[in-house]
Amino acid sequence: MDWFFYVAAIVAIAATVMVITRLNAVHALLYLIVSLLAVALIFFRLGAPFIAALEVITYAGAIMVLFLFVIMMLNLGPRSTEQESSWLRPRMWLGPITLTIILLIELIYMLSQSGYQPLATGTIEAKQVGIGLFGPYLLGAELASMLLLAGVVGAYHLGRDSREERG
């Protein structure tokens, strides 16, 4: 019985339920970050430390910051400051902080164990993932880079304010 996996899974499910039931977008975003961190812990436990790092850096870091930028851009104006202070009341932080502390305790306990074994099948290191990505999956990696380029161009084109051009 691997209780690391099950505790992280319960945290992930609880945080995801909170995401889809919140009324406020910033609150939902906080819970979504907790959910992604829990899934990252599960990846670590499953013997995928590189994927766990990518999950934290790219999902919980970059993509969530993008969401935050857009939410904040949609609320420009004189009342945005008081709105933000009403969003982030101390009481609001209790739920996400509780869930994150559970994950933190789990992580510290897991790292402090000597002779840590992720799974019977063993850990797949970043080196092996890189050899796979740029070996048999090279075409896929190139296509993903083209997709990201298309995403950049599309976001730039769509994100421009079309009224500026006419004026």
Partner: protein
């Protein structure tokens, strides 16, 4: 024998995917719909990594990297569309954009 049966990992992925699907179907705010799509993509990636760890192959993790690229491209274009929607309609309600004209 692995400490976590593969079925439990796949069940967790299915549950997270179902929660994301419920979010897409129930919520009408376009930002929440994009967040739910992120949850679904992440759940799909979790299923790949669980399967890859079951057979100790790198393919599952390589697929997760691809899913990550797709999610990043999707969310950047999607959020740019959200900005355009808000500029045109001054609302984030997805039902307000159901008419296919100007």
């Amino acid at each position: 024998m692995p400490a976590v049966p593969m079925e439990h990992g796949l069940f967790l992925a299915a549950l997270l995917f179902a929660l994301g699907l419920i979010g897409v179907l129930v919520r009408r705010n376009v930002i929440f719909i994009l967040m739910s799509i992120e949850i679904m993509l992440n759940a799909a990636g979790l299923a790949f990594v669980v399967a890859g760890s079951r057979w100790a192959q790198v393919d599952g993790q390589v697929m997760f990297v691809f899913i990550l690229a797709v999610a990043a491209a999707e969310v950047s274009v999607g959020l740019a569309l959200v900005l355009q929607l808000y500029r045109h309609l001054q609302t984030l309600d997805i039902d307000a954009a159901s008419k296919m004209r100007g």
